[in-house]
Symmetry: C2
Subunit: 486 residues, 2 copies
Amino acid sequence: MVDPTLRDQYISINEIYNIGFNGIITNAYILKKHRSAVTDIHEYLNFNGVVMTDSGAYQILRYGDIEVNNREIVQYQCEIKSDIGVILDIPTSHDVDRDTALRSADETYRRAVEVLDIVEKCRDTLWTLPIQGGTHLDILKRYAEKSVDIFYSGYSLYALGSPTTLLEQYGFDRIIDMIFTVRSTIPFSAPLHLFGAGHPLIVPFAIALGIDTMDSASYILYAKDGRYMGSRATYRLEDLNYFPCECPVCSKHSPEEVREMPINKRIEFLALHNLYTIFREFKEVKQAIKEGRLWEYLEDKANSHPAARRAFEQLKKYLEFIYRHTPIVKPDARAVFILSEDSIYNPKIMIPRRRVIERFEPIVNCVNLVPYSRGKILLDSGIEGSECISYIYTPILGIAPLHLIDRYPYSQFELGLKITKNSIIDDLSYLIFEALLKIVEISNKVVVNMYICSDVEWQEELYRKLVDLISMGETNIKIVLKANRC
Amino acid sequence: MVDPTLRDQYISINEIYNIGFNGIITNAYILKKHRSAVTDIHEYLNFNGVVMTDSGAYQILRYGDIEVNNREIVQYQCEIKSDIGVILDIPTSHDVDRDTALRSADETYRRAVEVLDIVEKCRDTLWTLPIQGGTHLDILKRYAEKSVDIFYSGYSLYALGSPTTLLEQYGFDRIIDMIFTVRSTIPFSAPLHLFGAGHPLIVPFAIALGIDTMDSASYILYAKDGRYMGSRATYRLEDLNYFPCECPVCSKHSPEEVREMPINKRIEFLALHNLYTIFREFKEVKQAIKEGRLWEYLEDKANSHPAARRAFEQLKKYLEFIYRHTPIVKPDARAVFILSEDSIYNPKIMIPRRRVIERFEPIVNCVNLVPYSRGKILLDSGIEGSECISYIYTPILGIAPLHLIDRYPYSQFELGLKITKNSIIDDLSYLIFEALLKIVEISNKVVVNMYICSDVEWQEELYRKLVDLISMGETNIKIVLKANRC
């Protein structure tokens, strides 16, 4: 949703629509106060896309109180036929104390209850139930839980309030916590809107954690402040020698030319560019999702700016939640990219990796460990006719039964990372050791034929680490590890 | 340089110029063979930008021999007033054996000598001296060395030949080796051209290693093959649901619409888009260089695709070369970004980090180690009036004398990475230990007051590691480490 800030319109709604945005958000409070003649918001705006109306909560956040009450503004949004309406919630600024946060969350909830009769009747508008509490996660969680009872009595989407002030300070890690708290508490099928967020650096992380829609007026606010949004950072116009962008407006002008424009033209230029940049970000994320490479996209984004890295590191705290909700289907024949050490957390790698270990119950007393790279074991002969059960092993992806070698992801990954880091080999040694312990539990003793073939360095290192692990405690009499160098 | 492949022109030279490219490359051999009436290349093309002409070497690479000799084609390029000409070198394909590579390198050198009289006289054309040898680095090096003698007798730029076939296979790591070999052998001030390279995934790495110009016809070759260049990957048009791009042509169409275009329109669309994408990449790199954040850009790029990661890992082999040629000036008040573990190799971090250790010769027997974060020590009191010399410490950036705390980079870095990884603390402990050993060499004994204040976890870990390091060998009687918890 784009907030075209109707009062000083540098960019027409039509232009916003033409860039690709099919929804806008505008302010019902301002309309009610200054444009009393409005009877149909689509007619008034001459816009056939989706119109969301906010209630004036932002004005409360910025200026304190406003001159309209909750029931009035909800009724008004219904009357002007808003597609998506919002109750008059009380935003929680990120820097308030617990008591203030609690009051805003509680009063917001009370108001959501207060208008239940209106939202139940006004069925042509989808109603938004905001959850407040700011960075006080326990308050957010409590009111997210409470609101579940009333949600299905007339509401269609949840919203997480007031990250705006945090976003301005690039406090992305705390926003990640807030999103997770609400997303993991409300029903998974319920849409969740994030108010006031649209910066390219936060968009992919918010979406990865389950945000469905967002709105933002940042394109124009930044433009008025002379700020140029990039996918990797925000620049001040005066600091740019080149536009790192190929959008229609940047393709036609140099930064120097834009700096010499009259102020209104300059703002229009920046606003249009910012809109193109935000829209591109959404297209990038959608395309990444379609091709099953959202995790890869997040890894990439994490290196684009320290604030994005913080968001990514914070998101990694919630991997279990992400894994639980990742569909276990093979994406359209797309190789998994192994880009960095974080690739190990890629759901397309971690889910099968764990599954192999969880289901690892072979009643055997002999295991072959065979190194492999993409779809090909690195061993010409030696295991045919073996009575041992054979597992393939490789860094990051872990181990898998030999017969999975031509299956996804074992046959379809592309290795970019160099396997020289100790931590990567450590990880693989622990994983194999864990699997061997599972065998020992059942069979009491196991003989392991570890094949070491080509690209030998990391395999020798792995062997040494396994020897160390096995020699600790009593496992050295139960696990007999033999190296077979080919 | 864009190669507009004159024979089947989907995109006019004018359009290429309007996108922003101010130079094109075209083929003198084809002109000579088919357009005998050409007398002035700029007039013929109706183009006032820079025109580089290739000699037909590419045709040799693809089709074997051609019907013109070296002196003829060099003379011809002079006559048609090419801005940048190339001798008729013998390209080395990446997959040839040593002998073939040696013959192509040697014959290329011989031909460079053979036309010295022409290039010396024809001063309005800048002449290119190609170095061949392919992936046989010793051959590349030998002929790069040999060519230095003749370079200043009439040549203006070097070129590295034939990465095209390697590029097609994303063999970026080997191209990095080739670039380094030539760049580190020829004079640092001599421009170096890279033939046939323009893919957004290799461009920043090539530039970081000192490539000055490149040429590529990939925009149209890819387009004819239905391939859509992205800054992060190349897509097949049929695989795209959304265009991850905001260029003027992508802003107007959806992938579905483009798929339904007639073939000529589709190729034109893809060619234009590809050109915009390549041009954006150059603008991104130029902007990153201007603001002193090329390393950060490379870190980001490395996570965009496994092939880019391989290029980055390979580039890290040549860090000493990069450090040697990095100007030691503070960029315009730009904070260094700490994005990943690779940030430690950022020249803006590694150069001052090493310099502190190299110049570490305080004749003292007492050192305070004070933790800090951006421009602020994490300690309220305790070191005022201390007779010990005080050093600040922090992960990645290392240690520095206290008085440097408000200087770049110690006052201007932005931390994105979480300091939880063992390897990061390991690194810092080795660095500090090395500094302490330098003191012990002079003063025989040193007392270290290590302050551990706020954000304590990594500091406690560092302390434990220092204790371990000191307790090895005889250093435990020479270095007395005391923890001061505040």
